[in-house]
């Protein structure tokens, strides 16, 4: 089966500009996650969707970050305006069952590498 798709793979912007990332999860997966991975660190969850509803966005900097999953399939993550500290890899993941299912594996996409200058 096809994996999680993300685009673009790389993005370079200047601070205060805006940027958007796109994710297409594995077909049929109900739950979608966006993670931020700063160089040398483990991924940190930004937001979690179940179908098109938000389950957890407690660590999303809502003053500049936004995300949506309007039809319960694809998702976009936006940063506006970007700061230098937003330089990171943004990973999208999906899992088959509804959130809360014990041991449900999350499958990750290749990530989008963002550099803010």
């Amino acid at each position: 089966e096809a994996g999680v798709a993300q685009s673009p793979r790389y993005k370079i912007i200047e601070k205060r500009q805006s940027v958007a990332f796109w994710c297409n999860p594995i077909s049929g997966h109900a739950t979608l996650y966006w993670y931020q991975q700063i160089l040398g660190q483990g991924p940190k969850l930004l937001i979690q969707f179940q179908n098109n509803g938000v389950v957890d966005d407690s660590q999303l900097p809502k003053d500049r970050f936004s995300a949506e999953r309007l039809k319960g399939v694809d998702s976009t993550l936006k940063i506006q305006p970007a700061k230098l500290e937003d330089s990171a890899v943004y990973l999208c993941a999906s899992s088959l069952l509804a959130s809360g299912a014990f041991g449900e594996t999350q499958y990750f996409g290749p990530g989008t590498r963002l550099l803010v200058l």
Partner: protein
């Protein structure tokens, strides 16, 4: 605060040797742990998982050990190969929402 962390940031082994990657966690209520492998330029890839009611689980060339008494998790890779070179993360499932808390990672370097 609660966290999941790793003892060794870098581990260098000879090809064919066994590798052991360690991880400490602080949330005694966690009920599920996962090891992920992340190669350069790629997203994390699931390796193996273990529930808190188990102390050992084996996969193909990999074994995960869980010691709840000291809140310690380890990943053992048998007959390490060059293709095993990557960063390895342990992750802890927390709460009812399947939220994963990742540690900082260990870089495994396999010397030919």
């Amino acid at each position: 605060g609660e966290s999941v962390g790793l003892h060794l940031p870098t581990l260098s082994v000879q090809e064919g040797d066994n590798s052991i990657i360690n991880c400490a966690y602080s949330n005694s209520a966690s009920d599920y742990f996962i090891w992920y492998k992340q190669e350069s330029g790629k997203g994390p890839q699931f390796i193996i998982d273990i529930r808190s009611n188990m102390d050992k689980r084996q996969g193909q060339r990999v074994t995960v050990l869980l010691n709840k008494t000291v809140k310690h998790l380890s990943l053992q890779i048998a007959a390490t190969q060059p293709g095993d070179s990557a960063v390895y993360f342990c992750a802890e499932k927390r709460g009812a929402t399947n939220k994963l808390i990742f540690g900082t990672g260990t870089l495994l370097a396999v010397q030919p």
